[in-house]
């Protein structure tokens, strides 16, 4: 049952095929036996999970269950969890035990989900390979020499390896979609503001968004039904009704207009990856969709724009880590400045420091107009390109990444080469649009993701297209051979 979807597990629990305790034990046992290979969890909550599973079983027996009662999930270690360390992949927060839950965590828990543990991630969600974690890199379950992608690499690897049926992630520039693509799972970044940011450690506040990572579009819809909604405690949370994201999953694709941005199929795209994407698009066409070439003419501005806006916001957000109120404090500070500068030197890793420095530079007197203001102007040009496309088409499709997962260490010494990995995902965050990655094939045994981009708040349409695609393809059901199908003594 470790490879079942959330939808299948919900049925199994309702029909008493197994209990939540049995399911939770099976997964905890797999984590204990297998996760030394992947390093996908930084904290496993055995006792807490079993207690929650027992409570869920009681609710299921009494008929008072919620939509996710008894379903085990993992949370990216960026979401605050009361009483459970929330490290954000950083030494800075290695000792941080939050006194409150993120809204995403409390909502999923109120719906009955059982938290298995907290997943590994690039430090403060800054990275595309999960190599920037204080707790060491995560490996890709499809091939342990490859990165799982980042920054939600632990969540993606845990789902791919059968160590959680679903997990939460966050996406500031591709951090749900890119690891989902590299690990062969389905991930959704909702519209900016759709899911509360309260209690989600902030990286770049105008870009950050939480979303589900799972084994199918249907599972993403089920989770989003609980995760989405207005939160009065997040001032950027959207005040819009939440539709039932499962309602339109089966809608036929007849008449759907799919835009293919020519800039996403150019020279930077690996040819075998392009062939997978073409085949996936043919499948949509066969189901009645029309493919239309479109242009996102300002695409070449995306990477420089993002790498000004995101570090600028990060440098501001991360100024709160000062060694005074919580988090890492250096030993024996000589004065207040020494306390600040040494706590931050010791607490932050190299990539986080680089982004803080770049952001501080971009916001500093004399450079603000040339960098930050200029980037905000370019951001509008990029967003306007999407708006123009959505006058012609209903969704946009293309590759999630330029190629399959790369080797551990291949790009870790070259920040700019690493930044280029996110070339197809960054613009979606700059424009605040919903985006998904859906498994669409294998290249040399490595998963490839099809990216779907929608209009603001049109998650239902993305989930519908992804679900229809998954009804006629089986890429999302493939599992890596490195993750054995039965853990010793499990109920699998």
């Amino acid at each position: 049952m470790h490879n079942h979807t959330v939808a299948q597990l919900m049925r199994g629990l309702q029909e008493k095929q197994f209990s939540s305790v049995e399911l939770t034990q099976c997964l905890l046992q797999r984590i204990a036996e297998l996760d030394s290979r992947y390093n996908s969890y930084v904290t496993v909550c055995d006792e807490r999970a079993l207690a929650a599973a027992r409570a869920a079983d009681a609710q299921l027996a009494s008929g008072s269950s919620g939509p996710l009662t008894g379903i085990p999930i993992a949370h990216k270690d960026i979401f605050c969890t009361t009483g459970v360390r929330t490290s954000c992949g950083s030494r800075m927060l290695d000792n941080f035990i939050p006194p409150y839950d993120a809204t995403v965590v409390s909502d999923l828990s109120a719906a009955g989900a059982v938290m298995l543990g907290k997943t590994n991630m690039d430090e403060f969600a800054m990275g595309s390979s999960n190599e920037n974690s204080y707790y060491g890199p995560v490996t890709n379950p499809w091939d342990p020499t490859l990165v799982p992608g980042g920054s939600s690499g632990g969540s993606a690897a845990a789902v791919a390896a059968g160590l959680a049926p679903a997990a939460t992630g966050t996406d500031t520039g591709g951090s749900i979609r890119q690891p989902a693509a590299f690990c062969g799972i389905t991930g959704l970044k909702p519209t900016y503001g759709r899911v509360s940011r309260l209690g989600m450690v902030a990286f770049a506040s105008s870009l950050d968004q939480a979303g589900p990572m799972a084994r199918s579009a249907e599972d993403c819809a089920i989770l989003l039904n609980t995760m989405a909604g207005h939160d009065p405690r997040d001032s950027t949370s959207a005040e819009r009704a939440v539709p039932d994201y499962c309602a339109d999953l089966d809608k036929p694709l007849d008449g759907l207009r799919v835009g293919l941005p020519k800039e996403y199929f150019g020279a930077g795209l690996d040819s075998a990856t392009a062939a997978c994407i073409d085949a996936a698009l043919k499948e949509l066409e066969q189901q009645g969709a029309t493919l239309v070439e479109v242009s996102l003419a300002h695409s070449e501005l995306t990477i420089p724009t993002y790498y000004i806006v995101a570090p600028a916001e990060a440098s501001t957000n991360l100024s709160r880590f000062d060694g005074v109120r919580y988090g890492h404090r250096c030993d024996k500070p000589t004065d207040l400045n020494d306390l600040y500068t040494r706590s931050r030197e010791e607490g932050f890793g190299d990539e986080v420091k680089r982004r803080i420095l770049v952001g501080t530079y971009a916001l500093s007197a004399g450079y603000y107009d040339a960098y930050y203001r200029k980037a905000q102007q370019a951001r509008r040009l990029i967003a306007n390109d999407f708006s123009a496309c959505f006058e012609q088409v209903d969704i946009i499709a293309g590759p999630t990444t330029p190629g399959p997962a790369f080797s551990l260490g291949a790009k870790s010494d070259d920040p700019v080469a690493m930044y280029l990995e996110d070339v197809y995902t960054l613009a979606v965050n700059l424009a605040g649009l919903p985006g998904m990655s859906v498994p669409a094939g294998l290249v040399g045994g490595k998963p490839i993701g099809l990216q779907l981009i929608g209009r603001h708040f049109d998650e239902s349409r993305l989930l519908n297209v992804a679900h229809r695609f998954q009804q006629s393809t089986d890429w999302h059901t493939l599992t890596p051979v490195s993750a054995p199908s039965s853990a010793q003594g499990g109920v699998a």
Binding site: P99, T236, R325, P333, L336, L357, A375, R380, H456
Partner: protein, 95 residues
């Protein structure tokens, strides 16, 4: 736009991040690479384009100035590195 080491030192001071002397050359080289990449933006024509701060062009929502949260000082101070009598302790600021 290239960046000199003394500018990196200035930014690091602004960002309150200490950089060891033996790291300085490496940090400067990496930041120079990143700035060279983001500088390609300077060629973009952004005349008369209104800066975009929020992707939905939403404005900050305000609420009535009312007490909505309870005092949780003890819980918050329980995770602080050093506190005394309900105050956060830092090295002496005023002699």
């Amino acid at each position: 736009m290239s960046i000199e080491q003394d500018e990196i030192e200035k930014i690091a001071a602004l960002a309150r991040i200490r950089i060891e002397d033996d790291q300085m050359a490496d940090v400067t080289a990496r930041i120079t690479d990143i700035l060279a990449m983001v500088d390609t933006l300077q060629a973009a024509d952004t005349r008369d384009v209104k800066p975009m701060a929020n992707p939905l062009d939403a404005v900050q929502r305000l609420r009535a100035d009312e007490v909505t949260e309870t005092n949780r000082r003890e819980e918050f101070q329980a995770i602080a590195p050093a506190v005394e009598n309900g105050l956060y302790l830092v090295p002496k600021v005023i002699e």
